[in-house]
Subunit: 252 residues, 2 copies
């Protein structure tokens, strides 16, 4: 048996998230069906972490064990011919047997994208949360700063979470503004969050809270108070899933 | 009756082109249904030009006559609530009765996009033609130069065209290369063509021919010979429609 690690990109629009669920169409199901059809083996795929329904991945990392003799450099092409156009595998290597794509991940980056302006961008409608009025990006940036470092992120975690500890470290939190499209009269705000791990809905609740900061409904300083409150009710709403992309996963 | 001019963006993936066709789903049909539902009038929409099945528009221009009293600044919002998410109207103004969105257009720009690299970009799979091997962009750029100016574009026109004259002027022909994505190991080539008018399939045949130049199957100089031949058979294949976007239409 070999342990194979692969990089997967997906447009999550059509899927009920990464992880297998009863009677749902998930990324994991589609990957495992493609692996079954390629190898004849019933293979269980492990990922760096689940993504919610509608969330995308530029770079999800998976691993699985197989007895198949297919050379590692052939896995991508072979699988891509079996996968639908919205899921793509773009890298494969043999890793040590003790490699586990979730446990070995030391750092993850998520990106949340908000489109502001008179109109959404038709070509990115599945990838950007559309907000019709302008947002105060300077205030949002200031709010984002409070999240950097080790904190108890209970306020930014779904009450459905079952994790024992809500303490996580955010290494980097930054915002990029993409220029106005002269035709669509719009601009995109990308929020990048890098940390050692993220709680259930954490990035989406942070995005939902920062949107309120950008709207002037909350001050940037309130982000610190929300952290201190350790209470989900103190934060803003969970922003819609389609603006979120798992951007990068780093390993030792 | 007022003559109203609007800007329309659409993702052409799900449509059989702009223009109404029997038993087909077209952009024009969807726009006219939305206008009927908004105004109660059977309105015929005129565009700056038809686009083929699967072709997109960043900025298509349409006009139509209506007796409706809806203030012009309300048309966009009212129509967008009735239109599907892949069609968006982003500008509306009242124009002179003799304005005709096709006849008054003095300049059009199309963009054709090719993605080169080990893998396609999952998020732009509907918007980019994927070419797995690298292309010689310098040769393509040199080939593109020959198209600038007034020429008989018969070689770059579908034999199904019914136009009397195939003489058109290309004002600008340029290429932009978008940087490599480190994860997807890919880059995009955007070909922009600006002219006073384009023949049936003209941009797609130019793109198909330039791809062959980039592959080394033809020299850049052959583009001049193809023009001189005035024979569709001398040019390359018609590149796939989903890489093409109507980028801009200019009026006097």
């Amino acid at each position: 048996m070999r342990n194979i690690c692969m990089t997967v990109s997906y447009d999550g629009t059509a899927y009920c998230g990464f992880q297998t669920q009863p009677n749902q169409n998930t990324i994991q199901d589609v990957l495992e069906r493609a692996l079954l059809s390629l190898t004849g083996e019933t293979i269980k795929v492990t990922s760096s972490g689940r993504t919610d329904a509608g969330v995308h991945a530029r770079c999800q990392v998976i691993n699985y064990f197989t007895a198949s003799k297919i050379p590692v450099e052939r896995w991508c092409m072979a699988l891509n011919t079996l996968l639908p156009a919205d899921i793509l595998v773009s890298g494969a290597k043999v890793v040590d047997d003790d490699f586990h794509s979730r446990r070995a991940a030391v750092q993850k980056t998520y990106r949340y994208t908000i489109r502001c302006g008179k109109h959404p961008d038709v070509f990115k409608r599945h990838l950007e949360f559309y907000h019709p009025t302008p947002l105060n990006t300077e205030e949002m940036r200031a709010g984002l700063e409070y999240l950097i470092g080790e904190h108890d992120f209970t306020s930014f975690c779904s009450i459905r979470s079952t994790k024992l500890s809500n303490i996580r470290t955010v290494y980097e939190a930054r915002m990029e503004c993409e220029l106005l499209d002269p035709i669509l009269q719009s601009y995109a705000i990308h929020i990048y969050l890098t940390g050692n791990g993220f709680l259930y809905n954490m990035v989406r609740i942070i995005a939902g809270t920062l949107i309120q900061v950008g709207e002037g409904k909350r001050s940037s300083e309130s982000v610190k108070d929300i952290l201190d409150a350790r209470n989900r009710a103190s934060a803003g709403p969970t922003a819609m899933s389609h603006g979120l992309t798992l951007w990068e996963v780093l390993y030792r």
